[in-house]
């Protein structure tokens, strides 16, 4: 069995009608991701990478670089306009974008987890924190009420949310706690692959640190493979073994994280590293 869990080839997403010049007139050389001929937005073009079991891959870039689009396509939040992704689940290979909607939903609910920057995308604010987790457990075929409740409570405790807050609405939680509930929810089905989209952005520094520590502990305990999207070099340095650098919808550079930070090759990455505090 290969160590690979995910293999992404030529993944692309263009918003708009597309013309033959979209690709050649966008990207870092043209300093834009908007096609000047037809106005289409090249959110991501020709993204390629392999992810191994238990590995943390970082994707770094500024707003509009295509880093979030990339993970959203892989989590089936957005539909790619081209490219393929293969998910290696044990001995079974899935051609992800060839699956039908029901199969994609099932993969998303049972085998993947997602933590969004905005908790409103990841959590249902009409129901309790425990209910949010229960929802995901129900979708993954756990049916017994008592079991679901115990497991939801355990997950909240694991992510350092007090069990007594289980029946409260996440609306009443702090930003850091909402992220913890999202992480608990994402982990509910013990997925082998987790997507984290700017999970610490906008949080207080001390809260950021605690969330990052939690992510590392989970990776250590469960061996979950993760794709971490961020614009923060510190997050990449702390979490990721390998990193992709994106700009204007393209991967401009990829490598071992320490190499990206100490010996960046692309002009943009050199500027990025030089401007870190």
């Amino acid at each position: 069995m290969s160590n690979k869990i995910l293999s992404v080839r030529g993944l692309s997403r263009i918003h708009g009608e597309q013309c033959p010049l979209c690709i050649s007139s966008t990207g870092p050389e043209n300093d834009t991701n908007i096609c000047p001929h037809c106005g289409s937005v090249v959110a991501a073009h020709d993204v390629n990478f392999d992810l191994y079991r238990g590995e943390i891959l970082g994707i770094i870039g500024e707003s509009g670089s295509g880093k979030s689009s990339t993970v959203k396509m892989l989590y089936f939040d957005e539909t790619p306009t081209a490219g393929s992704a293969t998910f290696y689940d044990g001995d079974v290979q899935h051609d992800m974008f060839a699956l039908n909607a029901a199969q994609q939903r099932s993969m998303r609910n049972k085998r993947f987890g997602m933590v969004y920057q905005n908790p409103h995308l990841g959590l249902n604010f009409q129901i309790s924190a425990g209910g949010n987790i229960a929802e995901r457990l129900l979708m993954s075929d756990l049916k017994h009420y008592g079991e679901i409740r115990t497991r939801a409570g355990d997950l909240l405790v694991r992510t350092e949310v007090a069990r007594v807050r289980m029946d409260q609405n996440p609306k009443t939680f702090s930003g850091g706690m909402q992220q913890r509930v999202q992480i608990a929810k994402a982990l509910a089905t013990q997925p082998p692959l987790l997507f984290l989209d700017e999970v610490t952005t906008g949080l207080d520094l001390s809260v950021q640190a605690a969330i990052l520590d939690l992510i590392l502990e989970i990776q250590h305990e469960l061996g979950t493979a993760m794709i971490v999207v961020t614009h923060d070099l510190g997050v990449i340095r702390l979490l990721a073994g390998r990193t992709l650098v994106m700009k204007h919808g393209r991967v401009i550079e990829s490598g071992l994280t320490d190499q990206i930070l100490e010996d960046p090759q692309h002009a943009y990455t050199q500027r990025l590293v030089a401007s870190a505090l």
Binding site: Y52, L256, E262, H266
Partner: protein, 239 residues
């Protein structure tokens, strides 16, 4: 005996796009490292000693040359070209690097910082911590510091934590960048004794030492590097 690492014509040149400049950092480096032996790199500041070590560890992407590493299974891998996942695997199990400065996760106790390479290999937490404690004791790090994050440690204490972390996993090839630079003479002696034991157990080392005396005592072969020739820029670019 077969070399574990053979470097052929390694060169590293940095290309600074912003300033439109090429900065050569090392060139024409040739050397071999053998199991149980220490190869020392010497030369003035700027000769590219650290660049060689970082090239081997792939923190730098080599600009030219080959770095042939013989793995535990007997395969020959060119570290300059090897796939990133293979490099990560080798870092975990075969190649260790003790850098000049301690870079570690904040908020982790010294014990866990040292034990980290063992955790990565799947050693049980308690056993890993036990071995970390033994090593910290050997390197004379006071035991009341073991459960404290190293951020507040003195330079010498940090360096010993750093050393302990590099040595604990007993890699087959150990890269050492001035591992004793900020240690007092007594502690330096402990480190020297420990390095000699590791050599005795067959670990190959490629090292940079601040003190010529340490080179004399520990090195089995010495490679002298000289600074690469600077690239002369055309006059109009300077103006």
């Amino acid at each position: 005996m077969n070399a574990i690492l053979t470097i052929e014509n390694y060169a590293k040149t940095f290309c600074l796009h912003e300033r439109n400049k090429l900065i050569p950092s090392a060139s024409h480096v040739n050397l071999s490292v053998y199991p149980g032996k220490l190869t020392a790199l010497i030369g003035p500041t700027g000769a590219g000693k650290s660049s060689v070590l970082k090239g081997v560890y792939r923190t730098y992407l080599p600009s030219a040359g080959r770095m042939l590493f013989r793995t535990a299974s007997g395969e020959i891998v060119d570290l300059a070209q090897a796939d990133e996942h293979l490099i990560l695997e080798l870092r975990k199990s075969e190649i260790g690097f003790v850098t000049q400065f301690l870079h570690c996760l904040p908020r982790k106790s010294a014990l866990d910082v040292v034990a980290e390479p063992l955790f990565a290999r799947g050693v049980e937490t308690e056993e890993a911590r036990g071995r970390a404690a033994d090593l910290l004791a050997q390197l004379a790090v006071p035991s009341h510091l073991w459960n404290v994050p190293p951020a507040t440690f003195s330079g010498g204490e940090k360096q010993r934590v750093n050393l302990a972390r590099g040595l604990i996993a007993q890699p087959r090839l150990l890269l050492l960048d001035e591992p004793t630079a900020s240690l007092d003479p007594a502690t330096t002696e402990r480190v020297v004794a420990h390095l000699e034991t590791l050599k005795g157990s067959g670990i190959a080392m490629l090292a940079i030492f601040h003190h010529p005396d340490l080179v004399r005592r520990l090195a089995d072969s010495v490679i002298e590097l000289s600074p690469p020739v600077a690239i002369v820029e055309p006059v109009e670019e300077i103006a």
